[in-house]
Symmetry: C2
Subunit: 674 residues, 2 copies
Amino acid sequence: MSNPQFSFRQTSFNGPSLLHNRREQVRRATVKAQLQQLKQTGRYDCFKLGWHPTYDEEYQWPVPKSLFWDSDIAKWIEGACYFLSDEYDVEIDAAIRELVGDIRAAQQDDGYLNVYFTVVAPKDRWSNIRDMHELYNAGHLIEAAIAHREYYHNDLLMEPIQRYVQLLNTLFGPAKEQRHAYPGHPEIELALLRLYKATGNHDAYTLARYFIEERGNPVGQDGLLYFDWEEKQRGDSHWLRPNHYPEAGSHWYNQAHLPILQQDSVEGHAVRAMYLLTAVADLVSLDKVGLKPLPENQRWLATLHRLWNNMVDKKMYVTGGIGAVKQWEGFGPDYFLPQGTDEGGCYAETCASIGVMMLAERLLEIELDSRYADVMELCLYNGVMTAMDLGGTAFTYVNQLASSDKDKSVRSSWFEVSCCPPNLMRLFGGLGGYLWDYGSEEGEAFVNVHLYTTAKLEFDAGEGVITLQQTSDWPWEGTVRFELRAPPSLDTTVRLRVPKWAKGRFRLEPPCDLAKIDKTGYLALPASYTKEHPVFVLHIGGVEPRFVMPHPYTNQNTLTLARGPLVYCVEDIDNPWVEDYFKNVAISPTATVTERHREFQGHRYVELQARGSTRSLGAWQPKEEGSSPGADVVPLGHDESTTDLVFIPYYLRANRGGRGQMRTGLIRETTSCC
Amino acid sequence: MSNPQFSFRQTSFNGPSLLHNRREQVRRATVKAQLQQLKQTGRYDCFKLGWHPTYDEEYQWPVPKSLFWDSDIAKWIEGACYFLSDEYDVEIDAAIRELVGDIRAAQQDDGYLNVYFTVVAPKDRWSNIRDMHELYNAGHLIEAAIAHREYYHNDLLMEPIQRYVQLLNTLFGPAKEQRHAYPGHPEIELALLRLYKATGNHDAYTLARYFIEERGNPVGQDGLLYFDWEEKQRGDSHWLRPNHYPEAGSHWYNQAHLPILQQDSVEGHAVRAMYLLTAVADLVSLDKVGLKPLPENQRWLATLHRLWNNMVDKKMYVTGGIGAVKQWEGFGPDYFLPQGTDEGGCYAETCASIGVMMLAERLLEIELDSRYADVMELCLYNGVMTAMDLGGTAFTYVNQLASSDKDKSVRSSWFEVSCCPPNLMRLFGGLGGYLWDYGSEEGEAFVNVHLYTTAKLEFDAGEGVITLQQTSDWPWEGTVRFELRAPPSLDTTVRLRVPKWAKGRFRLEPPCDLAKIDKTGYLALPASYTKEHPVFVLHIGGVEPRFVMPHPYTNQNTLTLARGPLVYCVEDIDNPWVEDYFKNVAISPTATVTERHREFQGHRYVELQARGSTRSLGAWQPKEEGSSPGADVVPLGHDESTTDLVFIPYYLRANRGGRGQMRTGLIRETTSCC
């Protein structure tokens, strides 16, 4: 059991596939393009601790524009190290070495390490842990150090980071003289737990656990919630607050309104929620014997279940996007999932869907269950992959389900707060780690295959090396060929996920009487089978167009085309007649959908075609302006004229020009007897 | 032409009708019940300028709990004076006299008159015109003074108020030494224009016009928007803001983001918007010759049209409620009209619908158009009337279209910020003024009848008195009998509104060949007809149950039962099986709806009955928790089992006990061929 950031090294994408191609593009183009951005924007040199004009610029209080620069550098180092494992690159290597040198030199005597609070506001250190991201930046530095040590096999970055962690461990904790604090933006918790796993630093484990357990304590510091206490220390008015706090004291914005164990629903900033719960899952994962969490951890696991279910069932878009509300970049009320800004909201930040993948992967480590892997795959192929163009150099931060005049479907090469682009980069770097879990013990080994593609797993199973090669044109087709090589002395069970959308349709060649989908949602191939048939082929049924719909309580009476794990959308480039962002395009669930294999600049994909119609606005078409808020009921329906519609995978949007008009869910054609 | 607050004295409700009965209940119960509330809460004595424990209580910064007390007193005096005209009451008279004495004594030497800024924070006068409601309170005091003078025929209240207005006129205006300010909460503009009309005080007119024209000037004070300037003067951080400001500098919250003439859509706090536009309409009304606004006023009129249309077509509920967003008690984006808190919002404040009535009435004075009267009637019978119980002593502030666990359909006898109850009281006091417009000139007279009920109009037409008696059981039936008495020398035209929901169906007895519905939407009966037939009967067709629907862009696929001007709802008291706030009750537009005349505690109403069904949640019913955000498409539909539903008028909700479960729009039964 280990996180994908470690385990991806056991996986090689060794043949063409959608995932391989996208990952290759990141390696070829994204890493260096982002390095250029870091250099152009001043980030690259920030650890040299010179002054930068940005520090003088106006900003959205209280967050200066450079506040996240440490984390941008850290995420780039982390991701770059992952890709260097694939292929050495002298420019990238040199950049990492320079940055590491800068970071080492930037560390203060007491171990403190943060650009803004060293160069610009040294007196304000730790004065606003709620908003100022010191611990968030520290977390990303820790993750960078782990990746750096893994690749370079030296402690040049790890050493200063460990000193910083030592400082944090002195500053924060339960003792009287320590701050009973926890980060406004969770991240460091999961980083500390990874550090513990990588280095055995038990202080890191203790600190992470403290941050998690203390969070939301209403009387944690001098009888106050920590964030309220520090506000008083600063002498801030309770009514002074950042723009993303809808009202004073909205501690739910950063999941501190209640101790985590008492939270019944997932609330607030979506990325923060995901990073936090990922760390909680790591905690559960660490405190178990075999597959069972320890008794005290059952409550944490129950909390994870509760919040996961609330999120997936009531607060997630059909693309795997989360966060309907722009103001706090997070969750609205249950079932509040409008498709776009003009319909009431839709944020679906890239980092948030990456966070869902992280959480899902951690939950899969705790308990194999295809529902986690289904959602993980949904996020990967849609909410996440849609955030980067084919060239790997242009991104979206927000991934709406429908664009509008105010928020067109367009990309940028960088952002002022640029968390998403390097997050994509490091995700693709460690992507192999999301494909499968594996392990061995006492003569038995297992591989649980979560994601299908073309890739090879190779791991040391104690009694020898196990390799599992999977070969597939997934997600375009449902056939996956496996070839297992394992020491004969090992009994190797292979479990294969059958996605829910396959509705139980699968075929195994050669057949296996003992194999059936168990309660995990996986097809378990017993060792007897894999020994006899080291080469076998899985055919997942149902990789064909289907319509999906959101929960009726969302008030979204829409249909979205999907095919396998892919969600589809319409764009104006293929449907150039559109003028209203497809707001009035209706489609019937019985529409005939045809497939066409297409290629764009070498990128293969399956286009879908179907006929739609134009929703009739009925009484509103001839209605006199300003005469009444409603209208007498009219038959529902649509114009007789039908419209040919071309659909492309949602991840492919905003790649081929056009006017930025895009929509996933189309109005469902209905008939009413009136 | 005069505002209803003056003209209602020409109207008597002289027979039973829904309006008469509701108004009588206010006279009998509400006026004294609210007097009791004023006394119990400390408001009654506040102008005595003693200390009250409330002044020491914590409050939602920056608005102390007592900030609106002046206006509560003022609105009560205003409303009470209206009802005293009906029937003298010694207790009410004594209270008004005492309050007026207190107000006179409370006035400062310079004319200043405000409780909070005299007793609690005298140093802070005029330091926060954006939030602190000094001008709003002043406006209501002006309205009280006008009503007081009308009833008492003395200047005991008018005199100090005129002195206060003189002070305001010195403080605010375009001169260099004056503040270039305007109120955060508009109200005083319409009050000043009424004062001008009542007393001829031209300074009041000038000041109102200045407030309106200066509003939103981006460089009004020292190169800054006034609200930004005063923030700087206070030394406030730009990031210090009241809870209802979604972000720093949300000047659209109080309609100051742009000069009014440049505003394209109605934004922000709904009550503020309505009070402001009512004053703009008054301005246009004053600056016209005959029926034509002066050329410079055409731009103001165009602005009124633009904002009215935006509001009615895109931001108004089918009940006449406005304001979907609770945080700023105001408008969301176009077509954002969820039915309840649990679906994303619904505020529909009582005062806002009263404001729509005021605006509609002013627009009717400028240009006769039945669309204004239709909306005015809709608000009166639904969004407004639903806010008071049958006893006249319990109220709602927020009038959601569907209740939920968080916001049940229940009433309170008073509120901490209690603008709505006395606003209802004074609205019912002056209700007669909303029924009709009338006038006479050079041998011609007219009466434009906007609302039907049983009432008598009597006015001096120069050459004699005209009376028009209308008798009807409206809104339960569509027949209205008219009896006109006019001096034979006068040619009297009577125009009768034919509501849009009647779809042109009407019958006049005796018939009139010349009478047809003209472009105003009114049926004009020429003088030749009214002379020959001083008694005539109008039968408005279509007073029968019908289904209405909101605009498709609202994503509310719902049907609402209506009958005449009344919107209907379902409540748990009649449908006791309900457990889910009727969230899953569907109804077909072809459902047979039957009527039943009912009575509850002497209150007659028409109940409707129809069969509904239970919406099927399809794939979600057996769905595994946390497995995916959407589901493969399933046939739309509903359980075969049907449900008998009982509907009552929306205004009648929350009167007969029950569990507070209520809904207006039910899911529309649809079939889909899948």
